[in-house]
């Protein structure tokens, strides 16, 4: 059974409620949606945002489709009448403030830049929804999985670079980079001084001589300028000489226990190139 299926099934374990009913929740942000879907009981969830139901965006799309969807406006949330609203810290500034003005409890989550952040956000959501026990159990499983990855790292880290649509790459101190390290890779972009987000010039990319090219797939069948960059001839030439792997963007755009699945994909790519 794959790690993903295991986590999914564990998240569905029925928990017996004792005493008061658990707080109901609505979420208006893709990352907070997925955290809520992971931690909350199904009866608690009043609504998640429409992005959570999109398989390109969300790791839990199938699960999200069972719930009413919202487009993130205050009026919709009022109609769902949740006890708690979970949102992202950098989005919907006006909506969050209006909901607070209307007397709602709004919990803002900072983006997840590493595994510790995932744990933090799981705990925050768990506390807000009185499902701290579920949150802790997810954290324990994550740590076990991470420990397993660390233990199975044998050889020298392999030089790798991740290419996102538009020529962006992942820099130092991002969740993606920590996951790459867990898979036994070293992020060449970070070594070239790239912090957080940004693009690596095609030239620097070629000169850095990575052994593994990671494509983050996002709507690959749709034509866009961003996707065209991935077809750059220089990149294609490099791809002929090095191993490549594809990791769907949804694993890295938000931080969840499910994001660890991308480590498995990368490990398989590393071992298959030998």
């Amino acid at each position: 059974m794959s790690l993903r299926m295991l986590l999914f099934q564990l998240s569905l374990l029925p928990i017996v409620a004792v005493g008061e009913p658990l707080p109901t929740v609505a979420s208006i942000n893709l990352c907070s949606d997925q955290l809520v879907l992971s931690v909350a009981d199904p009866e608690q969830i009043r609504s998640v945002s429409w992005l959570a139901a999109d398989a390109e965006e969300s790791m839990l799309a199938e699960q999200a489709r069972r719930y009413p969807l919202n487009y993130g406006s205050a009026e919709e949330i009022l109609r769902f009448a949740p006890d708690v609203v979970i949102a992202g810290m950098y989005t919907s500034t006006f909506t969050r403030q209006l909901l607070r003005d209307l007397g709602y409890r709004v919990v803002d989550l900072a983006p997840e830049n590493n595994i510790a952040d995932i744990e933090r956000n799981l705990r925050i959501v768990g506390a807000a929804l009185q499902r701290a026990d579920r949150a802790e159990s997810l954290i324990r499983q994550m740590r076990a999985t991470v420990a397993a990855f660390v233990a199975s790292r044998h050889s020298e880290p392999v030089a790798a670079v991740a290419i996102r649509p538009g020529g962006f790459t992942v820099g130092a101190e991002t969740l993606a980079e920590e996951l790459m390290r867990l898979a036994g890779l070293r992020n060449v972009a970070a070594e070239n001084g790239l912090d957080r987000w940004g693009s690596l010039s095609m030239e620097t990319l070629l000169l850095s001589a990575p052994s593994l090219l990671i494509y983050t797939g996002y709507r690959r069948d749709e034509r866009s300028l961003a996707n065209l960059v991935l077809e750059h001839p220089a990149l294609a030439r490099l791809a002929r000489k090095t191993a490549t792997a594809t990791v769907a963007a949804k694993y890295w755009s938000c931080g969840l226990p499910e994001s660890l699945h991308s480590v498995e994909l990368l490990k398989r790519a590393v071992s298959s190139r030998q």
Binding site: F94, Q97, L98, P111, W197
Partner: protein, 331 residues
């Protein structure tokens, strides 16, 4: 509509007020859920919150922002004696947008969303100060237009720079969406925030009204009629900076209202710049409220941005204006 020096155009004002009284209740009644437009206020316990805290601020702001844009567009076209003039021309809107972007960039907006409008107002006032520094001493109209173009270019460049260094792609996206212009989920607090800036701005423009009439005949004649062109100019510019700055602060960049509205009404008021101000305010409000209503009436999906709708309506109109002026028949 016939007009002459002696008559106040009652039919025009009545028609505009009637249009306003038609749109406002519709706008108050219309909301939006994931399934598309909704009418009414939900259950009895929700009605007060939805009506007074969500829909009413949105309608009030639509009125204030739309009216401001129409009024300032009319004033600027009268001042510059050019039917292609617009509040965005002076760099006020882009200065305000940059001020707000700075607030986002330093992460201040996360804590308290009212800081965002305050940043925008500071930006519009900075743009005005720069305008004065660039064109103040000579103060001639061409100098002001050139200074406005320079400020627009500079503010746009600074905004791009800030976006380039945004703390996260989410912040950059949020800024971009805000700049597209929207009235969604604003609160009464925003109404109280803009009024102290808009009201003095409007007052300054109204004070300049007769000077604008006199300027129809050129600066020398206007001066001989007792109206200093410089005073008129700074009243209009200062009033526009305050009022439009506040509008951009709260609603983002909503374009073309200030261009289209005065243009449509000019002949109906006999080309008197002063008579254009009131109807432009009313018509700007009607146009903005209607566009905002149209957004909510769209079938299901995320809400369109208000600035996008006004641009879709206004840009073809602007193009038609440019073509007609090239052919020499702008009336």
């Amino acid at each position: 509509m016939k007009s002459s020096a002696a008559s106040f155009n009652w039919p025009l004002h009545a028609a505009l007020v009637a249009a306003l009284l038609f749109v406002i209740p519709l706008a108050l009644l219309t909301g939006r859920s994931s399934a598309g437009p909704t009418f009414g206020f939900g259950g009895p316990d929700l009605a007060a919150a939805i009506l007074f805290e969500i829909r009413l601020p949105r309608v009030l702001l639509g009125l204030l922002v739309g009216g401001t844009l129409g009024l300032c567009g009319a004033a600027l076209q009268g001042l510059l004696r050019n039917p292609l003039a617009e509040p965005g021309l002076l760099g006020v809107s882009s200065g305000a947008a940059f001020g707000a972007v700075l607030v986002f960039y330093f992460g201040l907006a996360a804590a308290q969303s009212l800081l965002l409008p305050l940043g925008a107002v500071a930006g519009s006032l900075a743009a005005l100060a720069t305008l004065y520094a660039l064109a103040g001493r000579r103060g001639d109209f061409l100098g002001i237009i050139l200074a406005g173009i320079a400020i627009n270019a500079f503010a746009a460049a600074l905004t791009s720079l800030a976006l380039n260094f945004a703390p996260s792609p989410y912040a950059a996206l949020e800024i971009l969406f805000w700049m597209l212009g929207s009235l969604a989920d604003r609160s009464l607090a925003h109404v109280w925030l803009v009024l102290p800036l808009m009201i003095p701005g409007w007052a300054m423009i109204v004070l300049a009204a007769r000077g604008l009439d006199a300027l129809t005949l050129g600066e020398d004649t206007a001066q001989s009629l007792g109206f200093s062109p410089k005073t008129t100019q700074w009243l209009v510019i200062g009033g526009t900076a305050l009022a439009v700055g506040a509008a951009v602060a709260v609603a983002g960049v909503v374009g073309f209202v200030g261009l289209v509205v005065p243009h449509l009404l000019r002949s109906a008021v006999g080309y008197h710049a002063s008579r254009l101000l009131g109807p432009s305010f009313l018509a700007g409000a009607v146009l903005t409220l209607s566009a905002d209503l149209a957004i909510r009436l769209m079938p299901s999906g995320p809400e369109l941005k208000l600035g996008v709708v006004t641009a879709l309506l206004g840009a073809p109109f602007f193009l038609r204006l440019v073509l007609r002026s090239r052919r020499g028949s702008l009336a």
